[in-house]
């Protein structure tokens, strides 16, 4: 196994301590296939037992370990180790301690969007036509399913240049609105919600798609919404034959 010495420079900050934030440097031996999360765990176990960092699944499925490494937002459990790593909490979120951020605002935005299928007529009770295998073409189900594999990790929101300077919720929210908009059982005003969330502030730069650890493209979802807005078309018909 290829081994080398790595240096990790980690952001340290405890808001209850009254001390300003600082960077602490650690050195440790690593192997080539290790990930940044291994570095954090190793430092916690052998060098700094008070290091605060967050993770759960460590295989890129829960999305809770997002941090900034050398200026780029990544999942700590996915990003490979490098000889020099500067590790910081995910911006632009408030910091709870060290690398742990406060997701409550991010979650509130999800909550406010009502991201479960809304039946025709506005009822939010589970759609009765879902019983008995409603019509849902295989490719269509696949597209909706893939959009559902978004981890809500906030890496795209962190990378988005528009979020930093405009009133834009973020790419992740647009993607979830699009998932619902494409879902045959949903009749919510998803385009309106997206516009309210700042859809038009998006620069279409594509950074979100580039950084997504789940290999999704919020940028494409946003473009689909824009096309729908201008040209009125959806990519798939609804199961009952409607086209909007």
């Amino acid at each position: 196994m290829d081994e080398f010495q790595a240096r990790a420079t980690i952001f340290r900050f405890d808001p209850t301590s009254g001390q300003p934030s600082r960077y602490e440097q650690f050195e440790l031996p690593v192997t080539k296939n290790m990930r940044v999360l291994d570095v954090l765990r190793s430092i916690y176990e052998t060098q700094a037992g008070d290091l605060a960092f967050q993770y759960a699944c460590r295989v890129g499925r829960c999305g809770t370990c997002a941090v900034i490494v050398n200026g780029r937002p990544v999942l700590a459990c996915q990003e490979r180790v490098k000889p020099k790593m500067k590790i910081e909490p995910l911006s632009p979120f408030p910091v709870l301690r060290d690398l742990i951020i406060d997701y409550s605002e991010a979650e509130k935005r999800y909550s406010d969007l009502n991201l479960a299928p809304i039946a025709a007529g506005g009822s939010t009770a589970p759609a009765q036509d879902a019983r008995g295998r409603a019509t849902f073409a295989p490719d269509h189900a696949r597209e909706v399913g893939l959009m559902g594999s978004c981890l809500a990790c906030m890496v795209c929101v962190s990378a988005c240049p528009a979020v930093k300077e405009r009133a834009f919720d973020g790419p992740a929210y647009m993607l979830q609105l699009r998932r619902l908009s494409e879902h045959p059982a949903d009749h919510g005003a998803r385009l309106e919600q997206a516009l309210d969330g700042g859809l038009l502030e998006c620069f279409s730069c594509g950074a979100c798609a580039e950084v997504c650890p789940a290999d999704l493209s919020p940028a494409d979802a946003i473009r689909d919404f824009r096309r729908e807005m201008l040209l009125g078309q959806k990519r798939h018909k609804h199961s009952n034959g409607e086209d909007s």
Binding site: V59, C62, N114
Partner: protein, 590 residues
């Protein structure tokens, strides 16, 4: 030095602990029945085992002509080596379809073969095709359910860890002591019912497939409060998991049959397993189902090869996938292909090359004893999901956990709401015990000599893997029990913690978890020592055969004078009446 915060008391009708599939479903159901629900998660709401799951869901949907719920029942009991609680199994197979429709109504997109039919494939040990799934796997299940919770505006508290239950003088559960890890704030919940859906204890083992939070807290807390556990000696090991890198090590690669034509045809060839001598060793154990058999036989076969020196340097064996199924595997499980690509390489991801696999602790088959409504042996306490036991017997069918958490999560939520709304005039919890416990755990923050929590955790994990893992024997189990007692008496009271910060103090959290891990390790080892036979995932080298004469029975563990007491009782079969043994509503310890 910050002043320790005074515990805060909060009232709620139903307290649900855990935001995996079972907890979310329980919260949804309890809310819909009119109870005020508080849902707590130790970490973030998405940090659960459900999230990591492939989301495969066994169900008799009517699409496969030759399947029937009776056959699903038989497959489940056969896989469970006939010690499943048959009343629970009957409910599982009967209600799985309605719950699958619920998930679809929540927005989950089950994969389709045609516009009207689900895509139905095979899972390990099933005699018919009956597994459905969605492209977003466990992530999708977790997300759609979370959005249902958001829609109902259920009170959700993250970074809140269950530390203990609070009972009244008749052992009725009336509250819980919870630690808000984000602020180091103690909270005492005054509630009508508690639902434990905290998942399993895969963290007990050095190589495991679960999230770091699954330290069996709910099971241990229930045990400490006096609830009975069942089948706790059975830990399911997934036969194949990643062997490297360190982050992915132990993460499930599902079952060999998904890497071959067996995925589509009940008699097709599964992915093949080879040892370091190039032998297809499964043929020594099961030449009929081969690598498509149940997880217990497979995992044991692989472990034995490794222990007998025919494994790889990293402690694994090799899986040879069938390139013919790569296209469909990529279409159905793109997330898995990505993980194989990133951890192993392109040839492996394209199924053109063998890759290393090893067994890993996946699923806590036993757990808190429940009845068909989700009641435990303690009034006011309910349980569901991986934290509960009895549904799957000695070994769980792949794909049966997803329906389990939906079916029994809903039932537990329903019963908990009923309980909370019925008992309106109940006494408030005596908070003195809660305060004492909180103060004791607070003092742990101020110790600075002794072993650190991560070090003790590793010791426990290594000991469990060696002595209470896939291959067990009487001596090893007795040694483990002795060592656990030492840990409990000598090391645990003197754990040291580097910092006194109350904000997200991982060492403090781990110190509290370690008490739970030790309790469960002791329960598992005690039950495993008592069961002097081999059955399902419980393999005794000193008793390598199954003993149906004496051992078609379940072991129940409860806490007696601080140690686990093991009782053997006959299997709950369909022919028994509800009144006599099964229903635990209003039951006391017995």
């Amino acid at each position: 030095m910050p002043v320790p915060n005074e515990p805060r008391v909060e009232r709620t009708d139903v307290l649900v602990i855990g935001t995996g599939g079972a907890g979310l479903r329980a919260a949804i159901e309890a809310h819909d029945r009119g109870a005020q629900v508080t849902l707590v998660a130790k970490g973030l709401a998405r940090a659960t085992h459900t999230r990591m799951s492939g989301g495969r869901y066994n169900v008799v949907s009517g699409i496969v002509a030759d399947d029937h719920t009776d056959i699903f029942f038989q497959d489940t009991v056969a896989a469970g080596a006939r010690i499943n609680n048959q009343l629970l199994v009957r409910i599982l197979v009967d209600e799985a379809l309605e719950r699958a429709y619920d998930l679809e109504a929540y927005g989950l997109a089950w994969e389709r073969k045609t516009a009207t039919d689900y895509l139905v494939v095979a899972s390990g040990g099933g005699t018919r095709l009956r597994t459905i799934g969605s492209f977003d796997e466990g992530i999708g299940v977790s997300e759609v359910m979370l959005h249902q919770v958001f829609r109902r505006q259920v009170r959700l508290r993250e970074h809140h860890m269950l530390v203990d239950l609070i009972g009244d003088d008749q052992n009725r559960i009336v509250g819980a002591l919870v630690l808000d890890l984000a602020h180091g704030q103690w909270i005492i919940y005054d509630c009508g019912a508690v639902v434990i859906a905290t998942g399993g204890a895969s963290q007990l083992y050095a190589t495991n497939s679960g999230p770091v939070f699954n330290t069996g807290d709910g099971i241990a807390v229930a045990y400490r409060a006096g609830a009975e556990l069942v089948d706790i000696e059975f830990m399911q090991f997934i036969p194949i998991a990643f062997a490297y890198p360190p982050t992915a090590k132990g993460y499930t690669l599902t079952e060999p049959q998904h890497y071959g034509m067996r995925h589509y045809e009940v008699h097709g060839e599964p992915g093949k397993l080879f040892n370091s001598l190039g032998e297809r060793f499964i043929l020594k154990h099961d030449s009929v189902q081969r690598e498509g058999g149940t997880r217990d036989i497979l995992a044991r076969a692989i472990m034995l090869e490794i222990l007998e020196g025919r494994g790889s340097a990293e402690g694994g064996v090799w899986l040879e996938p069938d390139p013919k199924v790569f296209e469909s595997f990529l279409r159905e499980r793109p997330i898995y292909v990505k993980r194989i690509l990133e951890n192993y390489g392109e040839q492996e991801a394209r199924f053109l090359s063998r890759f290393q696999v090893m067994p890993s602790a996946l699923y806590t088959t036993g757990g808190i004893r429940i009845d068909s409504t989700g009641h435990t042996t303690l009034p006011g306490l309910f349980a569901a999901g991986e934290a509960a036991g009895g549904v799957h017997g000695a070994n769980r069918l792949g794909g049966s956990s997803m329906p389990d958490i939906q079916v029994f999560g809903r039932r537990a939520g329903m019963a908990a709401a009923q309980e909370a709304l019925d008992c309106v005039d109940r006494p408030a919890p005596d908070i003195r015990l809660g305060l004492e416990r909180a103060a004791k755990l607070d003092s742990a923050l101020h110790r600075s000599e002794g072993l650190r929590p991560p070090a003790l955790k590793r010791k426990i994990q290594d000991l469990m893997w060696q002595n209470v893992g896939l291959v067990r024997n009487g001596q090893g189990l007795a040694d483990a029990l002795r060592t656990f007692a030492e840990f409990r008496e000598q090391i645990l009271p003197h754990l040291s913690i580097s910092s006194q910060t109350r904000v997200m103090n991982r060492e403090w959290m781990e110190a509290i978890e370690l008490e739970n891990l030790l309790a469960l390790g002791e329960c598992m080892a005690s039950a495993a020592l008592t069961r002097t036979e081999t059955r399902g995932s419980h393999y005794r080298q000193d008793f390598p055969e199954g003993n149906d004469g004496d051992w078609v029975a379940n072991l129940y563990v409860c806490r007696d004078d601080g140690r686990p007491k093991v009782k053997k009782r006959p299997v709950v079969s369909l022919t028994q009446s509800h009144q006599s043994h099964e229903s635990l509503k209003g039951a006391r310890n017995g």
